[in-house]
């Protein structure tokens, strides 16, 4: 079974498309599809922490087992190792080209695509920007990105609730990403699952809009803990909503003291300089 590329779904569930183009063939079982195999070795991991509250969840066996002659095999492997290995390959790919890769995560509707559109219009003359769009179903976001003027590949994950490293690896074979450019990856709108899946990006950028609750960082701590930058979007609506920017930042800082913040309005343009400044600084670092 191979789940990292979504192929345990119906065969055509994950698709890769470019606006105006045809579906790219979903290659299965060919060279595109090698998965590095590590050999698990039985090393005893020293467990220096004690687990005073381990809960075993034993399962009632509805069937008989002959446990005679049974033996125990040590494994000690990370469940996400395949994703993590592929993410490391992607990271090497970005490093080799001096490309800054960012993973944009948020709830649906926080303004990821709007921020990308605006960023492309403002910065495309200054730096090469390429976009990977993750969405369960449609090509809509990719069309908006293409209209804004950046090369884009749409990944439709079907039922999948997150992008994974294999999807990005595959996308990188279909997309031209210029050296020293920026790859902006819009993840599927979801603040839970994408936190677990490293894509090989330099940083996760979490976007929250002021029409959401300012307690989002408490509700989705894993995502705010994994991010390096938090964009607070739709500040033009602040006069109309009950959103306490400082309370939101405090809650996020308690989860992640190192988190940086930018407040902006992607559609009106206020505050964008903070985001562009962060982007330029990170791009310069990645290009070294």
């Amino acid at each position: 079974m191979c789940d990292t590329c979504g192929c345990n779904q119906p065969p055509d569930a994950v698709t890769y498309r470019k606006p105006g183009g045809h579906d790219l063939p979903h290659r299965h079982g060919d060279l595109e599809h090698t998965h590095p195999h590590e050999h698990p070795h039985d090393h005893a991991h020293p467990h220096d922490h004690d687990h005073p509250h381990d809960h075993e969840h034993p399962h009632v066996h509805p069937h008989d087992h002959d446990h005679g002659g049974g033996r125990r095999l040590n494994v000690e492997q990370d469940i996400l190792r395949r994703n993590d290995l592929t993410a490391e390959r992607n990271r090497g790919w970005f490093e080799g080209r001096g490309v800054l890769a960012l993973n944009l995560v948020s709830s649906p509707g926080s303004g990821k695509t709007s921020l990308l559109e605006r960023t492309i219009r403002d910065l495309k003359a200054e730096m090469p920007l390429t976009v990977i769009e993750g969405d369960q179903q449609t090509l809509n976001d990719a069309e908006r990105i293409a209209a804004a003027g950046a090369p884009v590949l749409q990944i439709n994950t079907g039922f999948g609730c997150h992008l994974d490293a294999e999807m990005i690896r595959r996308a990188l074979t279909e997309l031209e990403v210029p050296p020293h450019g920026v790859l902006l990856i819009e993840n599927v709108g979801n603040l839970v699952c994408p936190a677990l899946f490293d894509l090989g990006e330099h940083a996760k950028v979490v976007i929250i809009s002021v029409t959401e609750g300012d307690d989002k960082p408490q509700k989705y701590p894993a995502m705010f803990a994994a991010a390096q930058l938090c964009v607070i979007n739709k500040t033009d609506l602040l006069p109309h909503v009950d959103f306490d920017v400082e309370a939101c930042k405090d809650a996020a800082r308690r989860v992640n003291p190192a988190l940086a913040f930018v407040e902006l309005s992607a559609t009106r343009g206020e505050g964008l300089e903070g985001w562009y400044g962060w982007l330029r600084e990170r791009r310069a670092r990645a290009a070294r």
């Binding site: 687990h51 005073p52 399962h59 049974g70 095999l73 190792r81 408490q218």
Partner: protein
């Protein structure tokens, strides 16, 4: 949804290890799941019971060891058990950094 992805990872690791050791079948797969890893255990077990069919672990149970969240205070070094991220230091009111509880690991297999 991502519990199905995790189960696929668990089964792949388990089958690979069992085959390598020449085992005929897997009776128990023991995993460690940190309480801050964002995994729904009932959903994980439900997915396992669906996905194990047709694998060497077809009759196996999933034994889940839940590991507690642990935080350490960057200011004073105190450690405490935490069950949510934003935990305050019991000694100095600093914010604890998460140092444990995000584990997602296959620990061992019982096989024949």
């Amino acid at each position: 949804m991502h519990e199905m992805t995790l189960v696929a990872g668990i089964l792949e690791i388990a089958e690979e290890r069992a085959r390598e050791a020449g085992a005929a079948r897997i009776n128990t797969v023991t995993v460690e799941i940190g309480r801050l890893a964002g995994v729904e255990l009932p959903s994980l077990i439900f997915c396992f019971e669906t996905a194990r069919l047709g694998t060497l672990a077809a009759g196996a149970e999933l034994a889940v060891r839940e590991l507690p969240g642990r935080g350490r205070c960057p200011a004073c070094g105190a450690e405490a058990e935490i069950d949510f991220y934003a935990a305050l230091c019991p000694a100095c009111d600093g914010c604890l950094e998460v140092v444990g509880g995000r584990e997602l690991r296959v620990v061992s297999l019982d096989v024949d």
